[in-house]
């Protein structure tokens, strides 16, 4: 089974074939971020920065200034940890740099909290010109990358390490407007990235497609009007995110319902501590992000 980081590595090769502007800036994580094949085929466009993310970030901004499209890749935690460098060299330079943060969330697993990207979305959301992409299946990875090379400005692509049972969607990504996977009626689950797949299988296995909506935030910033028109149709919300409870999509949606005066019950599943080591499946279970925990939560919200 593959993960979204694998689809990224594969599709980047396809894009690079017809787009000589694409370059990769790697921080000694070529295998982990799935850019080694790129190195083999396009060595002249592959820059090894070593374990020096700050330097890699500012070098990428320089490359972008020369009209290239640099993909600077590392674990999301290591990359966004260099916040001051991203703020200045990429953000306040309005650089056309693609920051690729893999190993999102708890699911890095046994390596533990020092490697775990649980605050990356929060950090990136504070930079007003950074677009965030978090695809959930191979098609969305391809669509996101097509969009990323088209749109000018700073971008953060969040990718997962863990293989999942992916499913096909009827529609392509509606960037900024939200992707409604199930319409439902009583409860709306809003999710992002890997937990969306868990929530999908939870709703399916309970045969709840007619009762529960599932909305995926594949890209940010969001269009408040579009989201409000969806969210206002339900009585209860359940936000599921593999991210710290502050600064992620729970905060995003809570602000939306405040600003739009939407009266709706607000529930969340997310991470409220620093995270810890463990098998990714065990961690998802421990933090209630796995299919079974989501099923339990949905039954409770439906009073069943």
């Amino acid at each position: 089974m593959k993960a979204t980081r694998d689809f990224f590595g594969d599709y980047l090769l396809k894009l690079a074939k017809n787009n000589p502007k694409i370059v990769v800036v790697n921080c000694d994580l070529g295998e982990a971020t799935r850019t080694l094949a790129f190195k083999d085929i396009y060595p002249e466009r592959y820059i090894q920065a070593g374990i020096a993310e700050a330097n890699a970030i500012s070098i990428s901004a320089g490359l972008a200034k020369e009209g290239l499209i640099p993909f600077v890749t590392s674990f999301g935690h290591f990359l966004t940890g260099k916040f001051l460098e991203i703020f200045q060299s990429i953000g306040l330079n309005n650089s056309n740099v693609v920051m690729v943060g893999t190993h999102a969330g708890l699911a890095i697993g046994k390596d533990g909290p020092t490697q775990m990207g649980l605050r990356d979305i929060a950090l990136m959301r504070t930079l007003p010109n950074v677009r965030i992409y978090h695809p959930i299946n191979p098609e969305q990875v391809a669509e996101s990358l097509d969009e990323i090379v088209k749109v000018d400005g700073p971008k953060y692509l969040r990718l997962n390490r863990q293989p999942q049972e992916f499913f096909k969607l009827d529609n392509s990504i509606n960037f900024g407007h939200g992707d409604l996977i199930f319409k439902g009626k009583d409860i709306l689950v809003i999710s992002q990235g890997a937990p969306t797949v868990e929530a999908y299988h939870a709703i399916k296995s309970l045969n709840y497609e007619s009762k529960i909506g599932l909305l995926c935030i594949s890209s940010m910033p969001i269009n408040n009007d579009s989201y409000a028109s969806i969210v206002s149709q339900y009585n209860k919300l359940l936000i599921v995110e593999d991210h710290f409870e502050i600064g992620g999509i729970a905060d995003l949606v809570s602000r939306l319902i405040s600003e739009k005066n939407i009266n709706i019950e607000f529930n969340t599943i997310n991470v409220s501590d620093y995270g810890q080591s463990g098998d990714p499946k065990d961690l998802y279970s421990r933090y209630n992000l796995d299919q079974k925990s989501i099923e339990k939560k949905l039954k409770k919200l439906l009073n069943e």
Binding site: V23, E44, R45, I47, A49, G50, A52, A54, N55, A56, I57, S58, I59, S60, A61, G62, L63, A64, K65, E66, G67, L68, P70, L84, E85, F87, Q88, S89, L92, N93, N94
Partner: protein, 266 residues
């Protein structure tokens, strides 16, 4: 504009720098003056303004960069009234989103050299000609990212990268050697794979000869120029603000500068 009289034009550049700092009553004039000859020589004489780029990593010397941009008519001279003012393109530190001619946003120290490396690699990938000049501060060398960048450049083939160190020996809390000594710089840089030269950073001929010698070669290592300078240097006879990093200029000092630089009052 290519200068007919570099010394006179750099005097004018220093005048603009001091004047805008006087009007703003802030703006790191002493750190701007220590690199006036370097920035002036590059913009007014040595750079090919079409293909070369200058990166001011020590962003607090922005008044000197803004003055050079005024001298080459990239920005209007009346902006000297607008340094550090609200909605001004002349932000306290260079902000490329408000003034594209500064090439890069800097201010938080340590990042500009990496950016310059990105430009140099970009030229290489695109097989374009052009030299990248970068100016870093001595206090800035205490930033870890500078050493990441120095290590990277020394390990990669970047003959078109020339870095000036504005070695004015001062930083916010006092003398560099007392706060966190960076010497011996030459030995460190050579060990990191750079070609190193040491010059008087206020000598126009030494700046020019060192740059021209490097540009005449087509390959080799990146060049690091240790430029010995003085904070607040106006002329051999006049240094202002007593090495103070944050001090601003008053009318009395401004009059001395005008007199020393033989700028006619306006």
């Amino acid at each position: 504009m290519k200068t007919n009289n570099l010394e006179k034009d750099i005097n004018q550049l220093k005048y603009l720098t001091c004047k805008m700092c006087l009007i703003a009553q802030s703006g790191h004039p002493s750190s701007s003056l220590s690199c006036s000859e370097i920035i002036g020589s590059l913009y007014l004489k040595l750079m090919d303004l079409d293909s070369d780029k200058f990166i001011l990593s020590k962003g607090h010397a922005s008044p000197s960069l803004y003055s050079a941009l005024m001298m080459i008519d990239k920005i209007p001279k009346d902006l000297i009234n607008n340094l550090r003012n609200i909605d001004s393109p002349l932000q306290g530190h260079p902000d490329v989103t408000r003034l594209k001619d500064v090439n890069v946003t800097t201010g938080a120290l340590g990042q500009g050299l990496s950016f310059a490396i990105g430009l140099a690699i970009g030229k290489k990938i695109k097989k374009e000609k052009g030299n990248i000049f970068c100016l870093i501060g001595d206090g800035e060398m205490q930033e870890g990212q500078i050493w990441e960048a120095l290590m990277f450049a020394g390990n990669n083939d970047l003959p078109n990268l020339i870095t000036f160190l504005d070695f004015n020996k001062g930083q916010s809390d006092g003398k560099v050697e007392q706060i966190m000594n960076i010497s011996p710089i030459d030995k460190k840089l050579e060990a990191f794979g750079w070609e190193v030269k040491e010059i008087d950073g206020h000598s126009l001929s030494e700046i020019e000869n060192t740059v021209k010698e490097k540009l005449s070669k087509k390959d080799g290592k990146p060049l690091f120029i240790i430029s010995n300078t003085k904070k607040g240097y106006v002329s051999p006879n006049l240094t202002i603000l007593d090495g103070n990093h944050g001090a601003s200029i008053n009318d009395e000092i401004m009059n001395k500068v005008i007199e020393e630089l033989e700028i006619s009052k306006r």
